[in-house]
């Protein structure tokens, strides 16, 4: 060995660790890996959040305990959490459906408002008579909410399919139009005594709540969870069937992954673009209807603190799995509720942010295997 060579080896050795970290793409992802990695990411996020809390002088354990108590501590707050989760499940599902086909519908917020507007119109214009039964009123409201939401999804869907207009822009802008349109009605047409809200709906337009059954079961007293949750869960099951079991779901997946291959397989992309956007809008619209019928019972400003946008995050966190959307939405509902309880209110948001970050980062672990290989000893 020449001295030159020896020197080279010596210098290169200085920079080497005794092991090597190799990143290899995974050929197949085992079924159990995804939930395990997601759980790991949430735990890591909570640890990181705890570190930050400790750093600014708080007690992370107390803070977490408080958040948990405020969101899930007793039947009352749990019920409130579920109320918050209901619209989130529906907007999360709306985004899930569209994102599966790589249609970036960020207009769930607007579709939510339109759903609320549609449901209000049938009540406030007297389209359903005031003495109609609750079943009839709610059914008509449901249809109106779904149709209005679907229409708000149809517009960007049609523009995208026929004129290739970017749906991100149109859905985003339609949000503002929907909100302004709602405002027009509550400031002008249905303003009650100059307040920016309509009058309260008649009782038959209220979705049944758990508290309504308190007479039969006293334990339900004061529980606000309403029938919208049932809509949300049924919707999740339907979306799950469509995406995983139906022929249409297969087409949506195929178009989402490779539109040219889908076209080659004889799938009508134009038609599916419009249909999927309408389906997505209908789900968000149902969310708006359920919020109006189950919680506020009137049309007013700011019915949504950004449910449509949170729906985007929820869809991603659930990895576009409609069933997983439910627990994720409940977690977020809890964090929103806890945000009112805890000071400063930013803490649950901070945790939300870190969780999102960790979950997205953890995706690498699903796609790649990280191996630590011991360097072979040089002989």
């Amino acid at each position: 060995m020449t001295s030159n060579e020896a020197e080279k080896q010596g210098s290169s050795r200085r920079f080497q660790l005794p092991f090597q970290i190799r990143v290899e793409p995974r050929l197949e992802v085992p079924r159990w890996l995804s939930p395990v990695v997601s759980l790991g990411a949430i735990i890591t996020a909570l640890l990181l959040g705890g570190l930050i809390l400790a750093f600014v002088g708080g007690n992370p354990f107390q803070a977490y305990a408080h958040i948990a108590k405020a969101a899930f501590g007793n039947l009352g707050v749990l019920s409130d959490t579920l109320v918050k989760a209901t619209p989130l499940i529906l907007t999360g599902l709306a985004c899930t459906v569209a994102f599966r086909m790589k249609l970036w519908n960020i207009g769930a917020e607007g579709q939510f408002y339109m759903g609320a507007l549609g449901a209000s119109i049938v009540v406030l214009t007297g389209l359903v008579p005031e003495d109609a039964s609750r079943f009839v009123t709610v059914s008509v409201m449901l249809i109106a909410g779904v149709v209005f939401g679907a229409f708000w999804g149809f517009i960007p869907g049609w523009l995208k399919a026929r004129l290739k207009v970017n749906e991100i822009i149109t859905t985003l802008m339609l949000n503002y139009i929907a909100i302004s349109l709602t405002n027009y009605f509550i400031f002008g047409v249905w303003s009650e005594g100059g307040f920016q809200m309509s009058h309260t709906f008649q009782r038959s337009a209220w979705l049944p709540r758990l508290a309504d059954f308190a007479e039969q079961m006293p334990i339900l007293r004061g529980l606000t969870t309403h029938f919208g949750l049932v809509f949300a869960i049924v919707a999740a099951v339907i979306v799950g069937y469509v995406l995983y079991r139906s022929i249409w779901g297969y087409e949506i997946r195929l178009i989402g992954d490779n539109p040219r291959a889908a076209e080659y397989a004889g799938i009508n992309i134009t038609r599916n673009t419009v249909l999927v956007m309408m389906f997505s809008g209908a789900l968000a619209g149902l969310g708006g209807m359920s919020e109006i019928g189950g919680v506020v019972h009137r049309l007013q400003a700011a019915i949504s603190p950004g449910y449509g946008f949170t729906g985007i995050i929820i869809a991603w966190l659930a990895k576009l799995n409609p069933i997983v959307v439910i627990p994720v939405a409940v977690l977020f509902g809890g964090l929103i509720l806890a945000g009112r309880e805890i000071q400063p209110a930013g803490i649950p948001r901070l945790i939300q942010g870190i969780i999102l970050f960790m979950l997205i980062a953890s995706d690498v672990l699903l796609r790649y295997r990280i191996r630590i290989v011991r360097r072979a000893e040089r002989v």
Partner: protein
């Protein structure tokens, strides 16, 4: 050529420039040595101006662009070589010919002495080709060298001083003086005449006409004519080979038949039924299978599993479809069965197809298309990029389909393959079928493929 331009590193051998061996790590190194390349697909930024594109990546305007100053410079440089350019124009406003001039200027501005041009005429109109040739001649007068890559014999004969023939990455003839050769001789060198292996092909009397194209015309993606007045018939139990150099309308031919591209004129019949400009679903339902040219972008959905990919054409029909539901168990069974039958090498049918090698990916496509027992099979470059063993397998499968009575349209750039498999040969050149039903004569076909059919073979140009 990409090796010379510094895009790829050579695995073996050396490049010698001006008597010194050169080691390129990037196109920058190659340009520094005086070697520049103009790709067939231009490398320009559409929303920038001509001057900005030429200056891109250079150190000279360091911070302030001083565009006016450089605009002048570009204009003078252009005039020097007889090229008119508008330096302040944005690239997207220019015609293809003008864009090419910008590419040439880019190289001249960098002081390139050897200019490599990959199929520079393929995107140009005849008149633009003349202008290009003028520019190239004025450059050679100036002492610069040009490597002109083309498959069109007429052009090569008219512009080149010396000719080198490449076939499958090997030089088959180097440095022939243009004056001493002829088009037939070149055509011969290009196609070769060796047959690698013999397949047992039984003689078979073809049946009824399955596919018929009547005077079909169509445009390519750029809106230029890709197919001109194409007439073609394929009978059941017969393989019709379409020979031609890439980019002469083969892709478009496959696409119009399968409903992926609109015809501007003409009629396409499958088993007597009109499928002209119908959606892709119509030919599929009539039993037309299609092995597409582009396996990853058209033929498969990369992130879906093998199962999802093999059911792409059959998922709408029973037994896979049950009402509005898809029977996943049946789909998986089908996939497992096909994986065995077509020896697709993968851990399981749940593997995403992007993980598969080129040969296995092609088997996924073949399994899907062949298992449907098609009446008509459009096979586009079915063996491209496969190793010898895989090629033979694919060719056997094609013959099996033929013997089972399918009508097959085989489009391939490999003449050997066309000659081995086809019952009849059609030659396509610039979107026209220039020879139909030709008896196997490699030299004649080679000549027709390169546009040398019309003019008589002569060898005195320069």
């Amino acid at each position: 050529m990409s090796v010379l331009a510094g895009l790829y590193k050579p695995e073996a051998g050396t490049i010698i420039v001006d008597g010194e061996s050169a080691d390129f790590n990037s196109p920058k190194d190659a340009i520094a040595m005086g070697l520049g390349m103009i790709h067939q697909h231009f490398t320009l930024i559409e929303s920038h101006t001509v001057t900005e594109n030429i200056l891109l990546g250079l150190d000279d305007p360091r911070f302030l662009m001083k565009l006016h100053h450089y605009d002048k410079k570009m204009e003078t440089l252009g005039e020097q070589y007889g090229m008119q350019v508008t330096p302040a124009a944005k690239i997207w406003q220019l015609s293809v010919g003008e864009q090419q001039r910008v590419e040439i200027l880019k190289m001249l501005y960098r002081g390139v002495r050897v200019l490599i041009m990959d199929e520079p005429t393929s995107v140009l109109a005849p008149q633009e080709i003349e202008e290009l040739f003028k520019t190239l001649r004025s450059m050679t007068v100036d002492g610069r060298s040009i490597v002109f890559i083309s498959h069109k014999l007429n052009e090569v004969m008219s512009i080149a001083d010396r000719i080198t023939v490449l076939r499958q990455g090997k030089v088959t003839a180097a440095g022939i003086h243009t004056a001493t050769t002829s088009k037939p001789e070149l055509a011969n060198l290009m196609v070769g005449r060796k047959v690698l292996f013999q397949l047992d092909k039984t003689a078979k009397e073809p049946g009824d006409v399955v596919l018929e194209l009547k005077a079909v015309s169509s445009l390519n993606d750029k809106g230029l004519p890709a197919l001109r007045n194409v007439n073609l018939k394929v009978r059941s139990g017969e393989i019709v080979g379409v020979a031609g150099v890439a980019g002469n309308g083969q892709t478009e031919l496959g696409e119009v038949i399968t409903g992926l591209r609109r015809c501007t004129a003409g009629e396409i019949l499958v088993n007597g039924q009109d499928v002209t400009n119908k959606s892709a679903r119509v030919p599929i339902n009539l039993g037309v299978a299609h092995v597409p040219e582009d396996r990853t972008h058209v033929g498969t959905a990369p992130n879906l599993t093998i199962t999802d990919n093999v059911i792409m054409k059959s998922y709408r029909e029973p037994p896979l479809a049950k009402g509005s539901s898809l029977d996943h168990v049946a789909a998986r069974e089908k996939a497992v069965h096909l994986k065995d039958e077509y020896t697709i090498l993968a851990p399981s049918v749940d593997t995403q197809v992007r993980m598969l090698s080129g040969g296995n990916l092609q088997r996924v496509i073949l399994a899907r298309e062949f298992s449907a027992q098609p009446v008509l099979l459009i096979a586009m470059q079915p063996t491209r990029g496969l190793d010898v063993g895989a090629i033979e397998g694919v060719q056997r499968l094609l013959l099996e389909q033929r013997d089972a009575g399918a009508a097959i349209l085989l489009v391939s750039e490999e003449l050997e393959e066309i000659f081995t498999l086809s019952d009849r040969i059609a030659v396509i050149y610039e979107g026209e079928i220039v020879g139909d039903g030709v008896e196997a004569d490699a030299q004649q076909v080679g000549l027709m493929m390169t546009g040398g059919k019309e003019s008589s073979p002569e060898g005195t140009t320069s």
